[in-house]
Amino acid sequence: MRDRPIRILLVEDNPGDVRLTIEAFKDNRVETPLEVARDGIEALAYLRREGTHAGKPLPDLILLDLNLPRMDGGEVLAAIKADPALMHIPVVVLTTSRAEQDVQRAYQLQAACFITKPVDFECFIQAVKLIDAFWLSVVTLPCGAR
C-alpha cells in the first residue's frame, strides 16, 4: 500500500465522458486526483511536462480514449510505450469501440487492458469500481522515473 492517493490521467475529449468518469469515481468513493487531457497532443505534453505542465507529477495510471481529435489513442499509446520515461505507466484503454481490430491494436501496443464503455451507467460504475479495485488496490505499481 502506498502512502499517497494514486494519480490518474484521463485522456478524453468528450466533456460528458470526463464528467461521467469523475462522477463514477466519486460514486465509488475513490478519492483520487484525476488530471484530464482533451486530446493526444495535450496528453503527451502533460506526460512530458512541457509548457504549463512543467513540474506536474507523472500519473500512476492512464485512462485513454481511442477516438481522439488531432492524435488518436493508438498513436498516443504507441508514443507512451516508445518513451523510456513513460513506458512503465499502465494504460487502460477505455472506449466505445467494440471493433475487434481496435481491441487487437490496443493490446499489440501494450495496453494494460481494454474496456468498452458500457451504455448503462450502472455498468460503468462497475467498470470504474473494477479499475479502482484492481489497479488502485491489488496491483503494486512502479514508482516511476521521478
Partner: protein, 431 residues
Amino acid sequence: MSENCPVDPASHTTRPRRAAGPRTARATDPRFDEILASANDAIISIDEAQTITLFNRGAERIFGYSAADMIGQPLDRLIPERFVARHAGQVRDFSATPEASRMMAQRGEIYGRRRDGSEFPAEASISKFRGPDGLVFTVILRDITDRRAAEQMLRGAHDELEKRVRERTAELEERNAQLQQEIHERRRAEKQLAEQARELARSNADLEQFASVASHDLQEPLRMVASYTQLLNRRYRSRLDADADEFMGFIVDGALRMQRLINDLLAFSRVGSRGKSFQPVDLGTIVAAALGSLRAAIEESGAHIRVGALPVVHGDPTQMEQLLQNLIGNAIKFRKGPEPQVHIDARREDTLWRIDVCDDGIGIDPRFSERIFVIFQRLHTAAEYPGTGIGLAICKKIVERHGGHIDVRSTPGQGACFSFTLPDREEPPHA
C-alpha cells in the same frame, strides 16, 4: 517444202490428175492412200479458186457429204454463211504469206457446216504447197463438239463450284458477322456486369462506412442520454417524485433499446461483409460455447438442454455460434413456463446436414412462419418478450451465406422446431 506437206493431194478421192517429177513415186505409194482414208480427221484440199480437190473419208463422216458430191465444189459449202467472206479473205492472206501452214482458229473460233445445215465447232490447220497447177491448200479439220461439250461441262462444274464456294463464303461471312455481333454483345454485357459489380462494391463500402459510423457516432450521444439519466436517478431519486422516476425509467429503457437495435443492425449488416472464411467447425464445440454465453438465461429459466451428436461442418465459426446462440436463446426466451425443454439434433440428408433446434415453448402460428425471418418483424410486444426483431433475420442471413436454408415447424402452444441445413463440404479423408 516437202516437210510442210503432210499429205499428198493425190489419192483415190482426188480427181485423177497427172503427177509430175519426183512426186509420182510417192503418189503411187498405197500407204498414203491408206493414211488419208483411215485418218480420223477431215482432210480437204482446195485449189487457188477454193474448189475442193480432195475430200477424204474423215471429211465424209464429219460433214455428211460423199467425196463424189464434194470434189469440184466450192469450199464455201462447208462453211456457215456468216463466216464465208472472212474465210475466203483468210485463205487469200495465207497464200500471200511465206508460212507453209498455220492454225485456223487464230482469229476466233471456226465452225463447219454439215450437209444437214447444222454447224459444229472445229479445230483446223491449213497448209499450202505449190503443185503443178498452182497453189494447193490442204485443211485438216477435227470436229471438237465433244471436247467443247466437255469443256462446257467442266466450265459449268467449275462455275457451280465457284458459286458454291461464293455461297459458302457468304454464309460463313454472315455467320462470322453474327458471331462478331454476339461477341460484341457479350463483351458489352460483361462490361455492364463489371460496372454493376463495381457499383455494388462501392455501395457495400458505403454501407460498411455507414455501419461503422452508426456503431460509434450514434452510440456516443445515446450513451450520454442513458448514463446521465441513470446518474440523475442515482443522485436525485429520493428528491424527485414517482413520475420523475418513471420518466427517467422510460428514457433509460429507450436508450438501452436503441443501443441493442444499433448493435443488432450492425451484426445483421456484418453477416455478409465481415464474414470470415470457411473452415471445419465442430458444431458440438460451437453449441457448448453458445450455451456458455446463455448460462444466465438457462439458469434463470431452469431450462433443460439436450444436445445430440453434432457433426463437423464447413463454415464460419463466429457466425455458427451466433446462429446457434440466437436459436437456443429464442427457444428459452419463448417458453411457456419454467424448465423449458430444448433439443439440439443433427441428421444427414443426402449431401446436407440438417440441424434442428426444438423447444416445448409457445410455438408460432404457421401463418407467421415466413414473416419471422424478415428483419424487424415481431410477433410480440417488447413487454411480453423483449427483442429487436433482428435475431432470426441474422440467422437466415448466416444460413444462406453458408448455402443452406432455414425454416420453422410449429404447432402453436406445443413448441417450435427451427431447422436449418448446411451443405456437407467436408474434405474427403486423406488416403
